[in-house]
Amino acid sequence: MEIREIIDYLKNYDGRPLKLMEVCGTHTAAIFKNGIRDLISPKIKLISGPGCPVCVTPTAYIDACVDFAKDADHELLTFGDMMKVPGTGGSLSDNKSQVNVTVMYSPFEAIEKAKADPDKVIGVAAVGFETTVPAYGLMLREARKQGIENIRLITALKTVLPALEWICENQSDVDGFICPGHVSVITGVHVYDEMAAKYGKPFVVAGFEAEHILACVYRIVRQIQAGENQTENLYRNAVRDDGNARALEVIREVFETGSATWRGLGEIPDSGLYLRGEYAAYDGGSRGLSEDMELPAACRCGDVIVGRINPDQCPMFGKGCSPMDPYGPCMVSAEGSCGIWYRNVH
């Protein structure tokens, strides 16, 4: 089917109003970048889900990172978008003069640094979903093989599925899901089958080009109209139905599941990944980081993360919370829905 026909169909859609959730922050960014909302009927509402790992990280985690990096014998490596996430005593960026933090581009930098400076302990702020977990696993596998002991992971690694289940349980008005492309590369698409059947909603995996997203929206709408609730994979050049067996094996070898706190959603059993067995020695204190900051009454972070409201419906949006001076992490990250809305809609 030609993309023009899909656009025509979606532009002229006049059925019942629909709410579709794009789970992944990269999809949210792509939807804005390509002006997708402008191409479809206002009756099809796209809402953003909890798919930004930075945004669902509780304050206690940031505090643990700041504390770790304050020790003169420690160096903390982190991806750039964690730098500005506020903790109880400010962000890593706010504490820059007191902490030893380096922005990394790959977790494997930890191995080089640990070898170069054996007296130092190299910390890695490991935040992410299934997509990034295997890289941390592979890095530790290599560290263990080389007998490197001075690396510690402070993890806030989460799996997306339990959060989707939470949304299905708590927010019945979502009519269908644009499933995360990158996460599905690892997990495959069958992981959505059970939820699709149980909750009677379509789950469609999409890539990140405008055409991919429009095709995905189209398939969800058509499924709903036909009364179907299937899992579909529209990202076949990257996503295998069974996922990436090697990556899944690394995850199982290095990590075990445990309870984790999601900002906005609360504690979800079995949604966190923690170092297991022999790898547990590399843990820099990741368990039990559940405390989240007391949010001001006006902050609607929690409602934004689960798609109950659009970011610009939060009273603090642009008024006390902006990418320059963010209150919630959704405003910090390039993948956070508030930040994306601010940069595009403000």
Partner: protein, 343 residues
């Protein structure tokens, strides 16, 4: 509140710092225009009044003045070095006001431990670029501070604005066309590749744009606005023009030139070429009927060979992008410092 790297990004945080601190104390009508270079009238104000009877009498001479400090890691990169950069940057700021760059001064802050051989190479590069750009370096200063062998350079430039040229950020008008001089994001991607130790063929676009600007005026184009597209990227510059000129700008996404290597690099890191920095790119805003001639003039030059017509100006406000599939979306200035994303 403390200074963060975002204050140096050229985006919204930089603008905030300008207005909150420097603008508060240095307020005057020349600085208040916030152009790439200040336009100053010197000498002849009284003389021209006296000679007012004669229509042929020249008015006061107009000169453009701009200053810029250069801090880049690494000091030498594919396509340039800090020496070349500090000449090109200031020369381009003068050119953007329609001025002919004439003189530069330079201030060096050297950190203890800097290799003299490196300094020699960088200064030689600076001299070579100054000669090519037709500017004389006429004053200088050197200070040494403790540090890790780094180097910072400030350059100030003076240029003459020929009579009849009136180029300003606030001169863009409804009906004008916007032309960019070439591919976006090369410098940003090159520097980031160096820092991340990624091997690729991306070279900085670091260049003085005298040939491009010269060609426009030689072709008799009535240039309304020129801006060099540096930190903050095209997105930020376009928003600033929309604001200064009180107009609506609409860009065609597909017309914006980005090299495929840079596009791939940006995709992987989650960066948008619209907000990536350049050191040898400019946009020209010209009357629509002169757009084709202006494009041809720019394309005839070395530094404008990839020039492209990217958008139009109409009445209204704000900056908009017409996407590949025909959607229209608004875009804003750069917020924060454009950090590579996590996943």
């Amino acid at each position: 509140m403390k200074i963060t790297m975002a204050h140096g990004s050229g985006g919204q945080s930089s603008a905030q710092l300008m207005s909150d601190i420097f603008g508060k104390y240095f307020n005057n009508e020349i600085l208040g225009r916030m152009e790439d270079a200040a336009v100053l009238e010197v000498g002849g104000a009284g003389a021209s009044a006296e000679a007012g009877a004669s229509e042929a009498a020249p008015g006061p001479a107009r000169i453009a003045c701009s200053t810029d400090s250069f801090v880049v890691t690494p000091l030498e990169f594919k396509g340039g070095d800090i020496g070349k950069l500090c000449v090109c940057g200031t020369v381009n700021d003068l050119l953007m006001m329609g001025a002919v760059p004439k003189y530069l001064t330079c201030g060096f802050i050297l950190e203890e431990g800097l290799d003299i051989d490196i300094l020699d190479r960088l200064v030689a590069s600076m001299a070579k670029q100054a000669e090519e750009a037709g500017v004389k370096i006429v004053a200088g200063d050197t200070k040494v501070v403790e540090g890790k062998g780094g180097l910072y350079i400030n350059t100030t430039g003076i240029g003459e604005i020929p009579a009849g040229r009136d180029v300003s950020s606030s001169n863009a008008k409804a009906g004008d066309a916007i032309i960019v001089s070439g591919n976006l994001g090369d410098h940003h991607a090159c520097i980031l590749s160096h820092r991340m130790e990624i091997e690729n063929d991306i070279r900085s676009d670091c260049a003085a744009l005298g040939d491009v600007v010269g060609a426009l005026f030689e072709a008799g184009i009535h240039v309304h606005t020129m801006r060099d597209v540096t930190r903050g990227g095209l997105g930020t510059v376009i928003n600033e023009i929309a604001g200064s000129s009180g107009v609506r700008v609409e860009l065609e996404e597909e017309a914006i030139p980005v090299h495929e290597d840079v596009r791939g690099f940006a995709d992987i890191l989650g960066l948008d070429p619209l907000y990536m920095g350049n050191e040898g790119k400019m946009i020209a805003v010209v009357p629509a009927e002169e757009a084709e001639a202006a494009l041809a003039a720019m394309r005839s030059t070395e530094h404008g060979k990839d020039a492209a017509l990217i958008g139009t100006i109409s009445e209204g406000a704000g900056a908009f992008l017409r996407t590949r599939l025909g959607a229209t979306r608004r875009f804003d200035v750069l917020y924060g410092e454009g950090l590579p994303r996590i996943c």
